[in-house]
Amino acid sequence: MKTKNLDLENIIFTTLNTVFLVILAAAMVYPLLNTLAVSLNDGMDTVRGGIYLWPRIFSLQNFRVVFHMDTIYTAFFVSVGKTIVIVATNLFFTSMLAYTLSRREYIFNKPITVIFVLTMYFNAGLIPNYMLIKNLNLLGTFTVYWLPNVISAFNLIVIRTYIKTIPESLIESAKIDGAGDFRVFMQIIMPLCVPTLATIALFVAVGSWNSWFDTFLYNSSKQNLSTLQYELQKLLASTLSAGGAQGGGANSAAQSGASNATTPQSIRAAITIVAAVPILIVYPFLQKYFVSGLTIGGVKE
């Protein structure tokens, strides 16, 4: 009798739990699937409503319009270029500094570490940072995308922790053979750090791809330096019907969209897909690494 009750309880719990988790997963994935369906549906038809998971009148017109907008086209390449430069500079400089801070004999080890770690916990604020960029004459330049992001303190700690696990004898024997610290870093440390650096590269790339605030704050007057996320933001601002307080206003993207038998709503869906697809492509690679990445981050001295 007792076991029967337990079995019944077990079945009820497992069923309810499964149903709940399926609903939850559906809630996570539905908005994107719906956006995909809208982006592949005829723009005028979408306005009638009732598009859920599947396009009613299939059409590639929205994507055709998006890829024919010069603004989106340049923005796509700026986003890609910015991501590549940030990943390259960030990984190189962060791991170079991490190597020097992993050397126990280095006399400036402690003060440099403290100065970098403190920056994780405070920020001068929006206006002073803006004034600095302005005074350095970096407003409206490509440089402003990567230069302020060359080192991240958190990744610095992660890489340093990893370098410290590399056997000292490897470094010593290279030094006996006459290699200097820079050569040790380039030829021994970098190759051994590839798994960690790959993980960090993916996270840095996602962060860079997803960022829009730097474009908005520093480069909003330069159309040729606009990024995909910023173009999406402008479109979002102009299609939110109640968005009276927004700064975006009507913009060329939405207008040129309307003249091609599409609607701002459909164009927005198409740009959302264009902005999300690179993330969804790297996602399988990311998820292979992120759990280990998170646990490395937890190891801190």
Partner: protein, 319 residues
């Protein structure tokens, strides 16, 4: 004489160490100067708080110095009403987000832990982690669509009307009463799955012998959750909670900035948006700097406090 010689050797040895480590120095000191320029020099901009700052005046010390006038202005009159309201909004939104996010991610981790089918578990995990990687712009767009009227793809209204809970669509983004919930809900959607990772890792580390022993004693599922799993992950829960104290003035930015509008501004505007509107859009750099300073100083106090509590509780110190 003797002490002079000793100082000399120490000096010489310091410089010989420096010259022996010149490569390390060349590899790190330029990056240190870089960091000082981009993270510490801007703190000098806090002097704007004590000036009536005009960007047209290029020489810093020729600005008009006004003492604490801007601090008084920030907390009195119309500015003061607006700023204090924004502090309230920031705190309310971030606490709601925090509490909802905590409870839900712990519950989800417990539920996932009960799933015996590894394949199903992995699929659910991977789907729920995914929104974490989408940008806030995309999320804001998806949220605004989901909350709109049914003909614009407003799935929430569609479901509520389908279940006959409401007869006419709710205009979520035109009614201030819903906004805090919308902020917390958006964060929940984006980060729920991601936040379970750390709890799942903690649960995996629990000794299976504890569960076996309780099976012998005839404990049921809920008794095991309550008396074994939760106590075993308690220290993870506590340390994460303490760490988030320092971020309590970070309520997020994008959801409030994109979805906030004239109708609901009384509930949507946060400190960050106040700084952006006064500083970048209205050109009142001084007042915006004071507001930003206020936020940074409070955050540092909170982090120091959290660090202290963390040390008292015998947990790892954060700094």
């Amino acid at each position: 004489m003797g002490s002079g010689a000793a100082t000399n050797t120490r000096k010489r040895s310091f410089w010989s160490v420096v010259s022996g480590q010149r490569e390390l120095i060349l590899m790190s000191v330029p990056l240190l100067l870089y960091k000082v320029l981009f993270s510490y020099v801007p703190i000098g901009g806090w002097t704007m708080a004590f000036q009536n700052f005009k960007p047209a005046i290029r020489t810093w010390y020729k600005q008009q110095w006004v003492g604490f006038d801007n601090f008084v202005k920030l907390f009195t009159g119309l500015n003061g009403e607006r700023f204090i309201r924004d502090i309230g909004n920031t705190l309310a939104q971030s606490l709601l987000t925090l509490v909802l996010g905590y409870v839900c991610s712990i519950v989800l981790a417990l539920l996932l832990n009960e799933v015996k089918n590894i394949g199903f578990k992995r699929v659910v995990q991977n789907i729920t982690y995914m929104p974490h990687f989408l940008s806030w712009i995309i999320v804001a767009g998806l949220v605004s669509t989901a909350l709109s009227v049914p003909t614009s793809g407003g799935i929430i209204n569609t479901v509520l009307m389908g279940l006959h809970i409401i007869d006419t669509p709710i205009l979520f983004l035109a009614n201030p009463g819903y906004f805090w919930g919308i902020v917390a809900g958006s964060h929940l959607w984006k980060e729920l799955g991601w936040n379970t990772i750390i709890y799942m890792a903690a649960i995996t580390a629990i000794d299976p012998a504890l569960y076996e022993a309780s099976d012998m004693d005839g404990a049921n599922r809920y008794q095991k959750m309550w008396n074994i799993t939760l106590p075993c992950i308690k220290s993870t829960i506590v340390i994460l909670l303490i760490m988030s104290i320092g971020n309590v003035l970070e309520a997020g930015f994008e959801i409030q900035y994109f979805l906030g509008n004239g109708l609901i501004v009384e509930k949507s505007e946060t400190i960050d948006i106040f700084v952006l509107r006064y500083g970048i859009q209205m050109g009142n750099f001084s007042l915006a700097t004071v507001a930003g300073m206020f936020k940074t100083v409070i955050s540092i106090l909170l982090i120091t406090g959290a660090n202290f509590i963390s040390g008292k509780l015998g947990e790892e110190k954060l700094i």
